[in-house]
């Protein structure tokens, strides 16, 4: 049973680790782009609004999206964990 718990935690942690790395990359690329690519961030010809604003708004949607995906995943993990606990009882 302990092996199953191990696998369960490993699976969950892998998802969390990948998500956290993505969040950090996406989040810090905004201030870094403002510093290193100011011309790109000032571009408003291709997107109708300044790229800096578009990217800032995307951070909001990224937060809601990852929060939603994690909640869905976690629901599945909870069910998996519950099944494992039931099997252990038997």
């Amino acid at each position: 049973m302990e092996k199953l718990f191990h696998q369960y935690i490993k699976k969950k942690q892998r998802f969390v680790l990948v998500s956290v790395i993505c969040i950090f990359l996406f989040y810090f690329s905004l201030p870094l782009s403002l510093i290193f690519f100011p011309q790109l961030m000032k571009n408003n010809k291709d997107f109708h609004i300044f790229f800096a604003w578009g990217y800032a708004f995307l951070q909001f949607f990224m937060t809601w999206f990852i929060g939603w995906v994690y909640t869905r995943k976690a629901k599945y993990w909870d069910e998996l964990l519950e099944r494992m606990k039931q099997e252990e009882k038997r």
Binding site: F28, A52, F60, G67, T71, K75
Partner: protein
């Protein structure tokens, strides 16, 4: 003070006192007092988290920063919001699984010693108080400006209310005050945003044009660089904002107020939707303020821009709307300070009184009494400090609390939950070093040391207004180095803790 202001003000005070009376009848156990016995739903807790989090600095400060400096002001909102993903993914569920009332419970589930309990209590206490006192000072100044009551009376009223909510109603009253505050606040900013849009006939191009005319920056208003001119300052602030929330005790103890991890996740997801929507609306209000009032008038009335929202309300809806927005600002402040008082109270009465002084042997009634007296004492101390600091600029401490939390609590919490090699020596080293480094950088920085306006009239030792870029790595590094000076725990001890932290399956080492 005119009669409209007075009626709104009385209405809020009466409503919140009724809630406190109702909660007081229920708060007769420690579990009720500290965590509302986990009785909140995820949605209610999400509203309460938003209420706990959106301070006067967020409501008035960010609108002001956007109105005066455009894009740079909005960077704060992004950091505040994204930080909730770190809370959700890394710490929220383990905290719910391991702790009972305080953040100290979580760390002591792995390192159960008096030393560790002291460290956690002191750090939670310092962070909560560091956040509480400037909020009270800012509140006193703001209420004086908005309602024309003198500073002492403002601080006394807010201080008394927060103490009454916590001492009598505990977490239940605090939570419901915060829930109502969030609903009223969202309603208020939504209304103000609608009025802004209706004034420009829903034509966004017209709003942008008016903004460009109203600001002194012209088109540059919509680009970065008006508030932060140094790249290192932007990175440092971004780092403190994204990691700070996951170290704030008054937010983290809210994970105990729901019954299970499904509700914990729902709480945070709800909070991100509310906080995100709120920040979208602050953008509209900030633009509206500079479009309808103009940079110069905003700056002349208050150079920090804190009065941008009330001024816009007066411009668009006259005295009535101003009274309504002022009442919202007042509710915002009392809800946040009440959350901070309960967090400081828990650190003292649960960690220090119950666990250290009484060695875990006090009765329910003794604990409850201690908690109520602690809340009263904290209320009095905070009010006395706020009264003494009337003429001292302490509002910068609000944003710097994120740096302190991210460099002390967060590294210790993260390593405790995830790192096998971590041990008590590392935890204590990380906590002390993170706390001292962040406080020292703050004391030696330009906020405190300035030849003209600083507390210390000398040149600052460094020029960073946001020292997180040095303080946060210092906290992490000292925790890592400290860990290598002591032996790691045996594998099975760590595994039992790890299993409990991440699955809730009790391995029998530490009962909640």
């Amino acid at each position: 003070m005119n009669i409209t202001y007075f009626l709104f003000f009385i209405c809020i005070v009466v409503c919140t006192l009724i809630i406190t009376y109702w909660a007081a009848k229920k708060s007769n156990t420690t579990s009720q007092f500290y965590t509302a016995a986990g009785s909140l739903t995820g949605t209610q807790n999400g509203l309460a988290i938003a209420g706990d989090y959106i301070s006067a600095a967020s409501f008035l400060g960010i609108i002001g920063a956007i109105a005066l400096y455009g894009y740079d002001g909005f960077l704060y909102s992004i950091g505040f919001l994204v930080s909730y993903l770190i809370v959700l993914l890394l710490v929220a569920e383990p905290i719910h699984h391991l702790g009972k009332f305080s953040l100290g419970d979580v760390i002591c589930a792995r390192f159960p010693s008096t030393k560790m309990r002291w460290m956690m209590a002191v750090s939670s206490f310092i962070i909560s108080i560091l956040y509480l006192i400037p909020q009270l000072v800012a509140a006193g100044l703001l209420i004086r400006l908005l309602l024309d009551i003198n500073y002492t009376a403002s601080v006394l009223v807010i201080g008394s209310l927060m103490t009454i909510y916590v001492a009598f109603g505990g977490m239940l009253a605090t939570s419901w005050v915060q829930i109502i505050k969030t609903i009223v606040l969202l309603g208020g900013v939504f209304l103000l945003s609608l009025i802004v849009f209706s004034r420009i006939q829903w034509n966004i191009s017209d709003l942008i044009q008016r903004v460009e005319e109203g600001t002194v920056w012209g088109e540059k208003y919509f680009l970065a660089g008006q508030l932060f001119d140094s790249p290192i300052e932007i990175i440092s602030l971004s780092l403190a904002l994204i990691l700070g929330t996951a170290g704030l005790p008054h937010i983290l103890i809210r994970m105990y107020t729901v019954r299970d991890t499904t509700e914990v996740r729902r709480s945070i997801l709800t909070a991100t939707w509310i906080i995100g929507s709120f920040y979208f609306m602050t953008l509209i209000i900030g633009f509206g303020a500079v479009a309808f009032i103009g940079y110069q008038r905003l700056f002349d009335v208050d150079s920090t821009g804190n009065l941008a929202a009330p001024l816009l309300a007066q411009e668009l809806g006259g005295d009535f709307l101003l009274a309504f927005i002022s009442a919202i600002a007042f509710t915002t402040i009392v809800a946040v300070v009440a959350g901070l008082v309960i967090s400081a109270t828990t650190a003292f009465s649960h960690d220090i009184y119950h666990h250290i002084i009484k060695k875990g042997n006090s009765t329910e009634q003794e604990q409850l009494k201690a908690a109520q007296w602690t809340a009263l004492a904290i209320g009095i101390i905070a009010v006395l400090f706020a009264l003494g600091l009337e003429n001292v600029n302490v509002t910068f401490l609000v944003s710097l609390t994120f740096t302190v939390a991210a460099s002390s609590n967060f590294p210790v919490l993260l390593f405790t939950l995830y790192w096998k090699r971590f041990n008590e020596t590392g935890a204590i080293a990380g906590m002390i070093c993170g706390l001292i480094t962040s406080l020292m950088l703050l004391l030696l920085g330009p906020h405190v040391m300035d030849p003209n306006v600083g507390w210390i009239k000398r040149e600052a030792f460094h020029s960073l207004y946001n020292p997180g870029i040095f303080a946060i790595p210092a906290g992490f590094l000292s925790a890592i180095i400290g860990s290598f000076f002591a032996k790691p725990e045996p594998h099975d001890v760590f595994w039992r803790f790890y299993q409990k932290a991440h699955t809730g399956a009790d391995a029998g080492r530490d009962e909640k």
